[in-house]
Amino acid sequence: MAKIESAFFDLSYLDALARRNTCIHRLDPRIKVIATAVFVICVVSFHKYAISAMLPFALVLVLVMGLAEVPASYVARKLLIVSPFAVMVGIFNPLLDHQPLMQLGPIVISGGWISFFSILLRFSLTVSAVLLLIASTGFNAVCMAMVKLGMPRIFAVQLLMLYRYIFVLVDEGIRIHQARALRSFQKRGLSMKTFSHLVGQLLLRTLDRAQRIHLAMLCRGFDGTIRIQRVFTITKGDLFFLANCCTVLFLLRYFDLPLYIGRLLTRLLS
């Protein structure tokens, strides 16, 4: 399947997930945005060589993922697809950083390897957290939440319109792409010249469409501001969730839980 079509699938799939109705979905979007931000900040603030201390955060993610009924296989696949940049930059660590940091019986592991795995872990945690936010909230609600949290309105409108028209334009893009593919035969790639005509054509249609949308807006009394009537109410339950969530995250951040458990176990065993 062409790239453009699989991307389309991603959008509609996440969109479908967001329309489920679980206890996580029902939380106020603002709460979820804040919780996600706290989560990400806690994870990235670990020191360069942290690995085991971060693992409890995975536990938190799995818990939420389960409650929100987001399939782990989907998240895992996404992680694989987007990992290259982090891996490419991270892989230099083992090459450059030879400081021995850890010893497992006879094996000494260099700081480079540890920080590399740390990067992979951070990467998986932060990316999954964001995917989880969208899959349990939906894009529109996230945008409206951000407005309530102080994002400029016009930027929110921009995001909403962008999201709305991705579906239309990607569809148009897919059809142009199909039409070309059917007449290209063995020539797999798209030459730059053809590409620019193709994209230019798409751009012309985009500009025309923008004109028609503007007209449609004017017809309905548009005066430069977009008004959206939306009421969000934060319930006690929401606040309770947020408070708990933050407490847990901070505790996990400050206290290296696996280390304590490990110590306990090793002491018991020895």
Partner: protein, 347 residues
């Protein structure tokens, strides 16, 4: 070249977030005030267009590899800098949220790297003076190509600086730059050529569209002094914040947190560990001739702070405990996951 959360320290990520959020707020105010209300749907649909266009790949001549449109320059040319910046920011936001491209914290860096330079450097300082009010195919070609190259070089520089100052990656500045800049020179050239081709296509088909945006005074015109002043302030703030964090510790927040909690792992005796390690090293010869002295050459490039190696201590007890605990935690996570899966099936 989307930055990832995993490579950022909170200090760098946070600073760039603030810088980006500030710019967005500023642009939002500008766009709102000088509103030409045609721009609202135009921005939205063009954002979606960039999205669709980025998913169509072309073959880069003579290399066989494929590339896609970045779109920063096209947006700047069609929308003017402020609206274009908002549009780029929105595209990157959707990419971060849906395609996990980058991440939440890295969003600040990505918007900065990919948005600021085409909109506030390349467009006003390069494209406009060259292509100006009376565009011609050659002028568009030179302006767009040069603009795209410069914007991408600066963007790549941004990525490198942010990565290196974050200190999560061990990549040293110079070699990183010497890889990133040439790669992005090539990417920039291709981007420039494609931008030129697409803009020329539109110009030929519907010249009035480009003329409209070129002549649109409120959003198109940009006060150069304001731009420079803004950039200066951003640079000073960024630099100041970064150097403060950098000087206090390689990971500012981390370090301060440890200081506050007085975490015990900090005070393991340095001498002993190094000694143990040295003997261990001799025995196992796992890492042949790399020195353990903290002044080894590779290390001094990567981190000038002497205390770096002082805090992540090696203590075989800690390592084992961490490992055991970690594995246990992972097992718990897996079990939890399976539990949910089972439940989902039975439901």
């Amino acid at each position: 070249m989307h930055m990832a959360d995993a490579l950022l320290s909170p200090a760098v990520g946070g600073t760039m977030w603030v810088a980006t959020a500030g710019t967005i707020a500023h642009c939002a105010k500008k766009v709102q005030r000088d509103l030409d209300d045609r721009k609202i749907p135009l921005m939205g649909v063009l954002g979606a267009f960039i999205f669709a266009a980025q998913m169509i790949n072309f073959t880069i001549p003579a290399t066989g590899s494929s590339g896609h449109l970045g779109g920063g320059m096209i947006l700047a040319i069609l929308l003017g800098p402020y609206a274009a910046f908002l549009t780029i920011a929105s595209v990157l936001t959707v990419q971060a949220l849906f395609f996990a491209d980058g991440g939440l914290l890295a969003l600040g860096c990505n918007i900065f790297n990919l948005g600021i330079f085409p909109c506030f450097i390349s467009y006003p300082l390069i494209y406009k003076p060259i292509a100006g009010r009376r565009p011609s195919p050659t002028k568009i070609a030179i302006g767009a190509t040069l603009g795209a190259v410069v914007a991408l070089q600066l963007g790549a520089l941004g990525v490198v600086v942010e990565t290196v100052t974050s200190g999560i990656s061990s990549l040293p500045l110079k070699p990183f730059l010497s890889v990133m800049l040439p790669i992005h020179l090539a990417i920039g050239l291709v981007e420039g050529l494609v931008t030129t081709a697409v803009v020329s296509f539109v110009w030929k088909a519907r010249p009035e569209i480009l003329e409209l945006t070129a002549a649109a005074k409120p959003l198109g015109a940009l006060n150069l002094r304001n731009v420079l002043a803004g950039l200066m302030v951003a640079a000073v703030v960024t630099g100041g914040a970064l150097s403060w964090f950098a000087s206090s510790s390689p990971d500012g927040l981390e370090w301060s947190m440890f200081k506050v909690t007085g975490s015990e792992e900090l005070d393991a005796p340095e001498e002993g560990v190094h000694h143990t390690l040295a003997t261990l090293q001799e025995k196992t010869a796992f890492l042949p001739d790399y020195g353990f002295k903290q002044s080894s050459p590779t290390e001094s490039i990567e981190n000038s702070e002497p205390e770096t190696s002082s805090w992540p201590m090696i203590d075989s007890g800690t390592s084992t405990s961490g490992l055991v605990g970690g594995i246990l935690t992972l097992m718990m996570a897996a079990a939890l996951g399976l539990l949910f899966k089972r439940r989902a099936h039975t439901v």
